[in-house]
């Protein structure tokens, strides 16, 4: 309201300046000694603050690596990509894509030659979408001189895993710690349980598969 009034007054002043200013200066040329007070003091042009133009860094993207323990099939390395969007300081949504490899089941190892799966079926890939909650944000201290910014967070979500050649519905739940090394750089340690149903070894059963990973991410 105030600014509208100001603008209106400015506009009137501008019109007065255009209408009144030109004849005054023409007239003033005849009598150079006569000092005319300017009607309007022109202010330097003001830069309007546009909040949209402030650099916003709500996205986080990065890579991770670690180990994944796949029920019945042993442990192997896991690598992947993660991307997150921070909605508020408390909540974020995250998508991950990872891959690992199925090892030998105890049966395969004991039986000697028998193989349950082909090599291609031993490739495990997964993706999931999760909601994250920064449950314990704050500074952590090592000794009395070093303080680290970060947050302990909880993850829960759903996705799909290509396991033994088939896609299975996968629920995940996890906990992680994000250490903010720089404003734009973070390190994570994440433990996640990937839960799916499988009938690959006969009876359909719920399988818990734990991954333990470290990530390096950047904010942009």
């Amino acid at each position: 309201m105030e600014s509208r009034l100001q603008r209106f007054l400015l506009r009137i002043s501008a019109v007065l300046w255009i209408l009144g200013g030109t004849p005054v200066s023409a007239w003033a040329a005849d009598e150079p000694e006569h000092d005319v007070e300017p009607l309007v003091v022109r202010e330097p042009e003001r830069r309007e603050v546009r909040v949209d133009n402030i650099d916003t860094e709500d996205f986080e993207i990065g890579v991770y690596g670690g180990i994944m323990d796949i029920e019945d099939f042993g442990s192997d390395t896991v690598t992947g990509l993660r991307a997150a969007y921070h909605i508020t300081e408390d909540f974020f949504i995250e998508g991950t894509y990872g891959q690992s490899k199925l090892g030998q089941t105890s049966f395969e190892e004991l039986s000697g030659g028998a193989s349950l799966l082909t090599d291609a079926q031993r490739d495990l890939t997964y993706w999931n979408g999760s909601i994250g909650w920064n449950i314990l944000p704050g500074e952590s201290f090592i000794g009395s001189r070093m303080a680290f910014k970060g947050s302990l967070y909880l993850l829960a979500g759903a996705g799909s895993t290509e396991f033994g050649g088939d896609n299975v519905f996968t629920i995940n739940a996890g906990v992680g710690y994000r250490l903010i090394a720089r404003d734009w750089l973070a390190l994570h340690v994440t433990a996640q349980d990937h839960i799916w149903e499988s009938d690959l070894l006969g009876e359909s059963a719920t399988k818990h598969n734990i991954s333990l990973t470290g990530s390096l991410t950047v904010f942009f």
């Binding site: 133009n53 402030i54 860094e57 944000p137 704050g138 910014k149």
Partner: protein, 257 residues
């Protein structure tokens, strides 16, 4: 000396090039270069935290009348640099009381339900049930008006005996966008690919066209966050004699911009 046709053309090309090159940086200023505006503190003080969150301690206070430079933003926290060179984070609730060079309040673009009504794009993720199988979907939408949105969606279907993918395009009509629980209906079409599991004997992959009608509701939760629930009826246009009708339920979340 008179200009020939070629001369005129050259001048014209030069003029157009000049106009394009000259105006491009201005047109793109908002996209590629970010601003770092100076704002004045008018409250008695401005608390500055070490990090972008309430869990990070205040370590400095900018005083009334001081200018701070806003460097960047993360969620609802703003990184500022004071006149004395201290850098830290200030919450939206405090920085929204600062003034611009002319002493006027700044529009910090608080996002409320109105922001959802006026949204241009929306991205979401949902889980659901597709005739007994689980589905996971990701979608993106572009709003033509507050009432009409064009939407594309990719779904993964995970059943006990088969899995599949579905890609859909639809038009979403929202008659009352300003309601807190805002119902909508949608019509769309796409393709459905079903791939039986390896443990199932003698089953073939198949790809069919699908058409659907849907009824759902958006619930604005906070800021850029929306919850969405939907019921859909798909008609699978199979190559067999009968078309197949499939019910789908889903619920999910989306963010809008």
């Amino acid at each position: 000396m008179s200009l020939g046709a070629a001369g005129v053309r050259h001048r014209l090309v030069a003029l157009i090039l000049f106009a394009l090159l000259g105006s491009a940086p201005i047109a793109n200023a908002g996209w590629f270069s970010s601003e770092q505006p100076d704002v004045y503190v008018v409250d008695p003080y401005l608390d500055i935290h070490t990090g972008p969150g309430r869990g990070f301690p205040k370590f400095y206070v900018a005083e009334k009348g001081e200018t701070v430079t806003v460097l960047k933003r993360r969620t609802d926290w703003f990184k500022v640099r004071t006149e004395r060179g201290k850098e830290g984070w200030v919450p939206l609730s405090q920085i929204s009381n600062t003034r611009d060079e002319g002493g006027e309040l700044i529009d910090w673009g608080l996002i409320g339900r109105d922001g959802f009504v006026q949204r241009r794009t929306e991205f979401g993720f949902a889980g659901g049930d597709f005739d007994g199988a689980r589905t996971l979907s990701a979608w993106g939408g572009y709003a033509l008006t507050p009432n009409i949105m064009l939407q594309v969606e990719a779904s993964k279907i995970l059943g006990d005996f088969s899995d599949g993918e579905m890609a859909l395009a639809s038009i979403v009509l929202t008659p009352f966008p300003e309601w807190w629980v805002s119902p909508y209906f949608a019509l769309g079409t796409g393709i459905l690919h079903i791939d039986p599991h390896t443990t199932v004997v003698q089953a073939e992959d198949r790809t069919d066209e699908v058409a659907h009608a849907a009824l759902g509701a958006n619930v604005w939760l906070s800021k850029r966050f929306v919850m969405r629930m939907e019921y859909r009826r798909h008609t699978v246009l199979t190559s067999r004699n009968d078309n197949q009708e499939i019910d789908q339920w889903k619920a999910g979340f989306s963010v809008f911009f």
